[in-house]
Subunit: 239 residues, 4 copies
Amino acid sequence: MAKSKYEYVKKFERNDSLLPNTWLVIRVDGRGFHKFSDKHGFVKPNDQKALELMNKCAENVMNDFRDIVLAYGQSDEYSFVLKKECSLYDRRETKIVSTIVSLFTSNYVFNWNKYFPDKELLYPPSFDGRVVQYPDDNNLRDYLSWRQTDCHINNLYNTCFWALVHSGKTETEAENVLRGTVSSEKNELLYSQFNINYNKLPEMYRKGSVIIRQEVSNLKYHLYVISLGTLYTAHSRKD
Amino acid sequence: MAKSKYEYVKKFERNDSLLPNTWLVIRVDGRGFHKFSDKHGFVKPNDQKALELMNKCAENVMNDFRDIVLAYGQSDEYSFVLKKECSLYDRRETKIVSTIVSLFTSNYVFNWNKYFPDKELLYPPSFDGRVVQYPDDNNLRDYLSWRQTDCHINNLYNTCFWALVHSGKTETEAENVLRGTVSSEKNELLYSQFNINYNKLPEMYRKGSVIIRQEVSNLKYHLYVISLGTLYTAHSRKD
Amino acid sequence: MAKSKYEYVKKFERNDSLLPNTWLVIRVDGRGFHKFSDKHGFVKPNDQKALELMNKCAENVMNDFRDIVLAYGQSDEYSFVLKKECSLYDRRETKIVSTIVSLFTSNYVFNWNKYFPDKELLYPPSFDGRVVQYPDDNNLRDYLSWRQTDCHINNLYNTCFWALVHSGKTETEAENVLRGTVSSEKNELLYSQFNINYNKLPEMYRKGSVIIRQEVSNLKYHLYVISLGTLYTAHSRKD
Amino acid sequence: MAKSKYEYVKKFERNDSLLPNTWLVIRVDGRGFHKFSDKHGFVKPNDQKALELMNKCAENVMNDFRDIVLAYGQSDEYSFVLKKECSLYDRRETKIVSTIVSLFTSNYVFNWNKYFPDKELLYPPSFDGRVVQYPDDNNLRDYLSWRQTDCHINNLYNTCFWALVHSGKTETEAENVLRGTVSSEKNELLYSQFNINYNKLPEMYRKGSVIIRQEVSNLKYHLYVISLGTLYTAHSRKD
């Protein structure tokens, strides 16, 4: 069998190993989730069940990949942090990102019915993924702060926007009201017009969710899904 | 809001655009499918329904991404060929591979019940993905020949192996019988001992499946899922 | 000796092999040659000896690296074309580009006195380098056309500019005269004001230089340094 | 002028920016220097003048690139350390490595006569270069220790080898004597047979050379070329 005749084509595969001794962040992002959440009637601005489903998917990814030490999620995205000394798949970039995105997606469809027992999944959702390397702990902490800040900014805006829309304004009118407003004005608008104290809203909506792994022993660990105000500083695991 | 303070972390993202004017092949591979097929009682050596489910997933991926001109599948893997002039996501490698793997996976779980109405999906399956660039048509054709040769070699072996096992041999005994045999000996074994004419077995098992897109117009195209003996030579689409 | 203790640092080296079966172009570019040509009193707009020195360096690079099939030079740059099947240094990008740039530079300093016997080299000149991969012959031909077009545009401009300056205009005045003019106007200016027929100027100035290798046998080849109007189409070498 | 028609070829250039916030090490290595040192009659095992010429080249490279904080050289190689926050050429890999290798090479040829006034340079020498990224200070320190250990091992061996050869042994005989010996045996051999106390030999031969930059002010700095026993730990510059 002339197998060898064709095998040269393997040489066109690129070695895409990532730099050793850097934090690896894999961020999974919903593809077309604006439309997806519309079609499936997600509660606006935050759908508790949809966020819990995201957390469940992330939890299962962490159970499968022990090198993930922390995950942070908000809206339709989740970031997974692999420890610096991780040697998963020889740190090959596309292998790592494709496998994690695939497992996350699979869990999303697989677990849909547990979170939405009365809602049929109308079509298969999908996610994209990317990998970023961070050389030191400060860079990683700032990455997580960046995503959490993004969560805050978007959620404050969306809370105002949907309060206005639910009170009878059109989407265009709501946008016009909010254009150019700063945080304090949005807080004030929520309080004065809708009697909403933004800081009393659930932390999961305002701050996102964090999953941390606590190693109890080599064979055992706990995962904690937490909605919290301040992210812990990330540290390399001591060996 | 000190958003800008953290945004520098975006600079750590690598630009991973692939070379222009090359064929892009994305190969999706089942992760741990040996165990998965055992747990779900797939018929050996080939489960018709499982292969049809793979074909369905590939078809839906091709419906979503118009730049895919051809797909080739066998066993638990599928290769998607994007045309040379493809500018999908600016040809960013991880964006392309993660999205295609995710959509394939999502379809697998989503459509499971249609192909296995009496079989519960026990846990979420996953796939990995890789990207290979091929500069010219000959390289691409050889890539497809390589995967088809792989299909043939594995399927001939597996057909013998499972015939022996189904006839009462242990797996170890079957392996011993087959060790060192060449193709003609395996064909002879199937014919003389099990009255199986290998060349009369379904082409989908022996050769894999090909999906080609026939553009009818800018707005319309047909997808043909074909099990065929000889792969067509790939050509760049004329514009 | 605890050598092994430190050797892990080699793992941080990236495998930067280029894609097989693509044309490799290495372009070497003078660094700060505007100042360098001023300091060394190069004749403007073209210094015959300086161009001949560039050609000599390129010739010696081609003598050292047999995988280079063609080189094209103009002004303070030179492009080297390595054949598609080239396996020099396993096609490692930084190894290839650094070695070629180094050898080119070394030749420039080494041969300076032969071309400028009466002019002392005042300080060590340097060059940078880059690598570009071209999948097919058309891309490569267009690359060469691009550099030759660049040569033409710059040389026509510079010929006008220096004619004006040599006739007594300041550099600023010369720039003002030329701002917004098209090719035909520049040709007309040269002819009417300076009696220069641009198309009669030496081809090396107007079109650049090409070095091609003619293989006579496995052991012997000729290099031809040519100043020519139309570049030959590049073809892969038949084996 | 149909310039735009060809300019698409620029899109084939890859963006090869290195990861931010990592130490960058550029190592320059002599190409074929075994033959080069033979042809030019370098004193064995160490040629004081040849090492001083290498140091001079490194010094001039450091004068040109202020982002280099430290350089380490031994034999025919030199490593340049660029600080973590270096943004030279947007951290583009081939631009950085090609420019530094070119400038080093240029200095080597340019300064040859100052170090070897009575020895003609017979042909142009060349160097290759590579880039390695190190995420933290320990990795960088271990890199430097690795090169210094390499210097020690090679120099101890070469000192024995050339002592034997200079005493009348053939090169093959010398190799046979040294095969399998450990450091202590080599030290003993030097002392007992040749009355050489290895630890009293010049530090530059045994340990290599280090060049450090001491910033006196924004406008002024000192370079110190040092031959020393223990390398300083590298630290990021405070800003």
